[in-house]
Assembly symmetry: C3
Homo-oligomer: 326 residues x 3
Amino acid sequence: MSKKSNFLAVCLRGSGQVFFMENQVTGAFFLAAIAYASYVSTQWAIAIGAVVGLVVATLTANWLQCDQKSIDAGLFGFNGILVGVALPTFVADSAALWFLLVFGAAASTVITSAVASTLTKTWAIPGSTGPFVLTGWLLAACAYSFGGLELISEKPELGTDYLQGLVTIPSAPELLEIFFRNIAQVFLLGSAISGVLVLIGIFMASVPAGIAAALGSLIAMVVAIGMKANPIEVSQGLYGFSPVLTAIAVGVVFLQPSWRVAVYAGLATVVTVFVQGALDIIMLPDGLPSFTAPYVLTMYLFIAPKKMMAPHPHSHIQSDHLLEKS
Amino acid sequence: MSKKSNFLAVCLRGSGQVFFMENQVTGAFFLAAIAYASYVSTQWAIAIGAVVGLVVATLTANWLQCDQKSIDAGLFGFNGILVGVALPTFVADSAALWFLLVFGAAASTVITSAVASTLTKTWAIPGSTGPFVLTGWLLAACAYSFGGLELISEKPELGTDYLQGLVTIPSAPELLEIFFRNIAQVFLLGSAISGVLVLIGIFMASVPAGIAAALGSLIAMVVAIGMKANPIEVSQGLYGFSPVLTAIAVGVVFLQPSWRVAVYAGLATVVTVFVQGALDIIMLPDGLPSFTAPYVLTMYLFIAPKKMMAPHPHSHIQSDHLLEKS
Amino acid sequence: MSKKSNFLAVCLRGSGQVFFMENQVTGAFFLAAIAYASYVSTQWAIAIGAVVGLVVATLTANWLQCDQKSIDAGLFGFNGILVGVALPTFVADSAALWFLLVFGAAASTVITSAVASTLTKTWAIPGSTGPFVLTGWLLAACAYSFGGLELISEKPELGTDYLQGLVTIPSAPELLEIFFRNIAQVFLLGSAISGVLVLIGIFMASVPAGIAAALGSLIAMVVAIGMKANPIEVSQGLYGFSPVLTAIAVGVVFLQPSWRVAVYAGLATVVTVFVQGALDIIMLPDGLPSFTAPYVLTMYLFIAPKKMMAPHPHSHIQSDHLLEKS
């Protein structure tokens, strides 16, 4: 295989890894989903940003001589593609945007490596999209500080009875759209068709992961509507994308599937909906989106617990504290 | 002993562990303190929430097959009881409240286990009420997001000369009330009588812990009034509950008592008053209470230092950094 | 050498360590820079605070019997001196200020020790000025809570065409002033002359560190002006002090210098400018300055990555999770 096609394969796998799938075809479907949403919204900067972010993050990992097997598996690309999608979603096209995007994608690789050397090394906690969340927050926040960057105000697409508060439960067609938007929004895409493409891509790589994604989307929809979350946000799929990731990560990818793990993943998925509601509020004063932070926080907390590890008893610590008598 | 009565004992110990006491009688006194405050304020949801949180958190630990000795000691119950007290204090009674409370109490057990597997395992830092603080923040914040949950506005009880700013030092009877409220507020209770019950409970399990609690309350009162903190908050005991926990934790429970440890605990207790003032401000934009975070942060920082651990010298790091020449 | 002169030497090294230099003459130059700025602004509390913070932090390390070699190297003094400079910069002179400053400087030593026992011990991440940032945030925040502490409103010195927005690029003399203020602001000083003194001090201890400081200041200036950051803040040197520290730390101090490390340090320096812009926004709702947090965060992330550490693959974790089948 030529080096060039090899790099292409690595990038496609990096795309697929956003949903934990080391699969080039899946990655291609995800890129198609992004391209479709860019086409519909005519915001081509998002699709171009995705490719630039993916390429820069992967090249940076090569330059830093990060673990080659991980680079080849696409594990240094998926945070970069998300940075590349997120930035043009919130910041208007300009030279400064692309300058920021290139440095941000490179930084996402350093942060991925930092998380691997700390949380993963010591506690076996997968970094997942945590580096994207941190990079995304810093980039989005600094867009407020620099006159060279212009923030795009979010314009939610409204218009249905559900959104206008006339009915409390969305209609069946709306529920179907929400179901797929919950999946598309992992890539910050509001298009249900993109969600269909993403879900097909997941199923092509792993049937259990596809089922977990579907169940995660369903659970999120039921809990968010039942708790009367903001209908506009529910309708856009903003209450669903983190729970979808949690359902796959906890239920299929990082733990050995079993009935107990399924119940555990169900608990984690419901908790993610609450954490979504919480982080939306907590990030509000800073004017920052929560990105996939609800998934990242919940997943970290649910993957961290280890067998045999007891909480510290309420008695003297047995390590040599500074003030312990020697 | 029958399994049922055994479970009751475990739950009572879980109640006692809020003040580090593995003692059923102490736990019963604490529940009585909660019940009394619920009776006075007619907010029975708080007492019921305490029991539900305690039971759910303990059952979750059983289901997750957490360390049995720790479960029996009540170490998986005390964060649950605090979640159960805190949520109905801030959110009005409704079906959605109880749904949230049950999932929140279950999550507090997962988080307790996550902290044990990370901070405690690697650095011998006790998790203590850290899991409650994190769970409480997420649950309180998400109450703003969901229409199904109605926030209760805080109504501080006012009325004395001290509170009205006519005098700068509270009168002796007021000082006595503050002294006991500082202790009761660990359970988010504003009743001085509840504080008396809690302090009796502590003394029944450990005289040194009782003395530390009393001294912690005194120090907090003097520093808060001396620094001219908001008299309403001082009067309600809101400047005292975290320092009380710090005094017991650092001075008696986690370090071997000695004169040097007593001075160290005194420093930690004063610092906790400052951190209380700081976190009240830092949490303000998010509209979240600081819960026991001032205690948790201060205690983590004062328990973490280990003998022989030097700060990294300002010279090349001796571990294999990514960019080190091989 | 008498004990007294020895303590003086330790304190002077503590001053020098703010820029990673274990050098008494350098430390003396830094104190002169602080004294000069205090003289110009007639805010003598800042110079006195520096000395008090330095002495209290060092004495606390002695009392806690921290690692003697580190104490002698000044590694427990440099966070204390920064606390001592920062507090009187933001809080007006009063008895309560000095009470807070003494306890804050003592706490900075405990926090330095806590960071050494956690981040440094487990991940070889140098604590650097992280303890100052945490202490500074807590002290500055609690100044809002206590009536005994009065906050000083920041009065930026304005007046040039650049600041008034008539021109987009500062004039040559202004650029020179910014170049030196970028260095002086590490000590929260707005005086270009102080920056000259600091830079001389650095060069006396280490020529490579001096060059890195100069390049860091230049890069920060170009990026901040190019991205159109707030001209007032750029002019005061507020966009430059963290990048200066990053350039020295990543390029010279903590990694073995090489061409690849130089490029890496350049990337880190540019990223620090973005993080500066980000943290200014993120800290805004809390009304807190970001201090050296942009440097601390960036440096931690760029020093953490270790060779051979791969991100966790997207497959079952191989450690004994609570729910793993036994």
